[in-house]
Amino acid sequence: MARLVRDGMRAGYLLAACFLVGVLFNYFRGEGIPLVATGDYQVFVPCPETESEAGKVSLDEVGPDDSISFPKDATLVDARSEEGYAGGHIPGAVNLPYDELDGVDAEAVTELAARVRVGRVIVYCDGWEEEEDPAARYDHPPSEYLADELKSAGIERVTSLTGGLGEYVKRGGALEVGGE
């Protein structure tokens, strides 16, 4: 027992020495961290993987260049924020905002899935390409993530629009302004 107490005390000295070395080393090194964190750590957890992956579709496949006409049975889904949607969207599109952190409203997804069980769904967003916007928060356009979510929710024929709204406007597509 006496030996254990002696070893325990030595362990305490070791702990104190390491404490001193650690703090001093951090103080004298170039890229040390502050002794006390100034703000909360932004703890990110990986997003859950979607079960299935939706395909992509380009405007060429949807309709001819000069007249952009989406199939009649297609439901267009705008993955942008409510403000973006109100600022201008493809006529007839419904808004289902997709956020990187919050994901998508599960109830709205279920509702949409029930509504378009057999129909086709085309999801679009602003439509940037990775090389155009390296600082973008997403690895892929949000429409692709939302399309994956919808596919996982049971909608069979769901695709993401390549180029998104940017490409649509570039080709002279008409926009509808205002909320739902």
């Binding site: 030996r3 362990a11 070791l14 390491c18 650690g22 951090n26 957890v45």
Partner: protein, 194 residues
């Protein structure tokens, strides 16, 4: 320094006051089996701790973030822990490998293992998706956190307890080397004095 007779090293196994009738099988096992096993265990556990410490010392911010991800400590303690813990791991790891101050070092190692096991178990039971446990800096060694991680740490704790228990009877290491040298000097001096 008087030389300790061979049998006294192993007398812990015998009943107090029992007559000494030569080394038993247990004495022989203690003498020939435990020291290499202890050495192996020390190299294994010490190596793991040195390896784990290195990446954390190089990148304290990432380690602080790993600690924060567990959501167990108040923010103002996290940085201090990220500064001190890697050095504690490094020093105890080195002490285990070289075999000096082994018992204090292994006491600290076991204490750390208990804390790690509780932290990982708590994260797993809370369903925190941490990705990796933050035990090692390198991507290859960063195993995804699960109950398997807890059992791995329990295994390392058992090795630590083994080292703590056998250390009395297995003295291979720097301390023993130093003692052996002292003994050699003492014997040489005794021979000179006649």
């Amino acid at each position: 320094m008087p030389r300790i007779p061979e049998y006294q090293y192993h007398s812990a196994w015998r009943q107090p006051g029992a007559a000494f009738r030569g080394p038993t099988m247990l004495d022989k096992a203690t003498k020939y089996v435990l020291p290499p096993l202890d050495l192996l265990a020390r190299f294994y556990l010490g190596g793991i701790f040195i390896y784990a410490a290195w990446g954390k010392i190089l990148d304290p911010y990432s380690f602080a973030l790993s600690i924060a991800t567990y959501q167990m400590l108040p923010t103002h303690v996290i940085n201090l822990m990220a500064m001190v813990l890697p050095w504690l791991e490094l020093v105890t790891g080195i002490l285990l490998v070289v075999g000096t101050l082994t018992r204090p070092a292994v006491l600290l190692v076991n204490g750390m293992m208990v804390v790690f096991i509780y932290a990982i178990w708590s994260a797993v039971s809370r369903g925190l998706d941490l990705g990796s446990c933050g035990c090692f800096a390198s991507e290859e060694a960063a195993a995804e956190i699960s109950m398997g991680t807890v059992w791995r740490d329990v295994w390392w704790l058992l090795i630590g307890i083994f080292i703590l228990l056998v250390r009395e009877r297995s003295r291979w290491g720097l301390t023993r080397l130093w003692e052996w040298n002292q003994e050699r000097k003492w014997r040489a001096k005794a021979a000179e004095d006649g």
